[in-house]
Symmetry: C2
């Protein structure tokens, strides 16, 4: 297949950019977006960068009814020198294709889309903020657009990329969060769509999230859907525990989203020569470790927050306070290293960053 070219239609006017202090997550979008269509028999075509604009769909468009969709989330960072870079974008496109496979959506050309994202970020480079902890959040997504009522894979799709300048995802910043273990609701189960990044998983999570928030917790810790014993994820993050010097994270079992931050954390820990294990972990095991005084740290990992230390876990009436509810040393070190690489403050030994443009006009 010959690589597509990308048609570019620049916006006639530029929106006002928010001040660093006004940055919230996911509310403001840049001047342009990337769009590409899929039609059965033609394939993906019509790759374009166009002014950010509404999309118009038939009310019978399948996305409104049968949820056939996938998405990704990654970030562009402004370095001290003013240049802009991405973090492991090829991993996001790779995961998107795995999600596509599960959702019966036609595969995308990963390398081409990394290029398209780079081009879009380059065009909107002034939107990459430079204040500490800020970045440009990039959201590629695919929706089924065919107007048809019937449970079947669609014959038409749209691939879209929109971008939003963001501050920190969590109001608490790098401070530890309080998490409640969920016993009633289930996010995903083996054989389901848990390892794909698709809307339905997030829709399923809202109810439990709503309940724990009312009780003062910021996220849910999900247990497995079969035995309701084994730890899966924390909200929209993967999770790590440090027990007696060993770092443990749930093994990818079919219902856990394979996080790119998770992968980066594991790489980093191994690089540092620390013992890291991917395996099944029951909540009971963690509670036992806590009682023995061996549960040293716990943290979530994800693109939005990077690392989110867990200060307290609530489980079956028990309050498990971890590291006196302070950010642990390891959590801090992992956070500083990953963000250090992302913002170009420290060396990037793994070639994780992808340069978009050298220096650009400051926003």
């Amino acid at each position: 297949m010959e690589e597509q070219s990308i048609r570019v239609e620049l916006s006639q006017s530029k929106k006002e950019k928010p001040k660093a202090v006004e940055l919230v997550f996911g509310r403001i979008f840049t001047d342009h977006m990337f769009v590409m269509d899929y039609t059965e028999g033609i394939g993906w075509h019509n790759a374009s960068i166009v002014p950010y604009q509404p999309i118009t769909l038939d009310p019978a468009a399948m996305i409104f009814h049968y949820g056939q969709s996938v998405f990704e989330g990654l970030k562009a960072f402004r370095t001290k020198s003013g240049s802009v870079q991405l973090f492991r974008p090829e991993k996001n496109m790779e995961r998107m294709n795995r999600s596509n496979e599960r959702l019966v959506i036609p595969p995308i050309d990963e390398a081409f889309l990394v290029k398209a994202i780079k081009k879009l970020v380059e065009i909107d480079q002034e939107w990459v903020p430079d204040a500490e902890g800020t970045s440009l959040y990039i959201r590629p997504f695919i929706i089924s657009t065919e107007p048809f009522l019937g449970v079947a894979p669609a014959h038409q799709y749209k691939f879209i990329v929109i971008m939003s300048p963001v501050g920190s995802y969590y109001k608490e910043g790098i401070n530890p969060v309080k998490i409640a273990v969920e016993n009633k609701y289930v996010r995903a189960v083996k054989g389901g769509t848990g390892e794909a990044k698709t809307g339905g998983n997030y829709a399923a999570s809202l109810k439990a999230q709503e309940i724990v928030e009312k009780e003062g917790y910021s996220q849910v810790l999900w247990l497995d859907g079969v035995e309701r014993k084994y730890i899966e994820e924390v909200g929209s993050m993967n999770v790590f525990f440090k027990v007696n010097g060993e770092i443990i994270t749930p093994a990818l079992n079919g219902s856990i989203l394979p996080g790119i931050t998770r992968d980066s954390v594991i790489h980093l820990l191994k690089h540092w020569g620390l013992p890291v294990t991917e395996r099944r972990i029951s909540m009971e095991e963690m509670y036992d470790a806590y009682e023995k005084g061996e549960l040293e740290e716990a943290f979530g990992s994800g693109t939005a927050a990077v690392i989110s230390p867990i200060g307290e876990l609530y489980w079956e009436g028990k309050h498990i306070v971890i590291n006196e509810c302070k950010t642990g040393e390891l959590s801090k070190k992992v956070y500083d290293t990953i963000t250090g690489i992302q913002y170009g403050k420290i060396e990037d030994p793994f070639n994780w960053t992808v340069k978009v443009c050298e220096t650009s006009k400051v926003k």
Copy 2:
């Protein structure tokens, strides 16, 4: 809360209606649609019947990302006398509110929406076809429209009703279908969203459906997500088995969609004094019954097909042929009775039908 009034804006032109033989499921839509908006602080408002038209949304609209949506499906039928009637529409609105509850979508006013649907059908009454087995399929649905990237319940929604004149859902008609038992993929699990009518459940089902279709089966029989032993549903239908004179259907367990046809079938069987049981049924038990020659009939139930006899079940290498792959007597009787009531051919002892309008111009 005072009941809303419905603004009506009639279409300036009328689309051409398909001929009875051209009717396929869910491809052609009527001249009008019902729309209503939700905004936090205001509630549901702006109820309108407008010409069928595309909807325009921000690309950040939450429905495209986090799948927060619910839908319903019911039908309007043309009786012999020319009048038009609905089948248990209040049940659909009731179920929609249960789905809303699970998906953290604000509740709707059920009685008002039954009225709105009646009004919409009345306006488009010429679209209710009159050929044998045809009907007007009605699709109410709710989508989250707020432009926001963040996993949380939306503050803005749209409730829409579109309608499509339909022939039979299954190309096979009332003839028995071949079904394959699914061992790898899971549709829903207890604690998940299986009992809600939400897009994610259908997105999750596509992969298994695609695989069995390639092998010549028309639908998947879903087993429970925990033990992978117990029968849940067949494709998008509930399922019934007749074993040694007793009619058995899986009990609603939290992961099964509570079908309105299912409820009607159970009512009918009880009315006839037949033994009907709702309980857990393992695939093994059905296989044993088959081996003993006691598995007399099996059928799926749903709005689209009403009753769909199962001629063959494929399970772990075994081909379970039921009633010589012919439509069973009971299946036929249930089908004839429910469709008889729906089309006003026979008496409606349960008050299931709701008249929309007396006689109308033939389409």
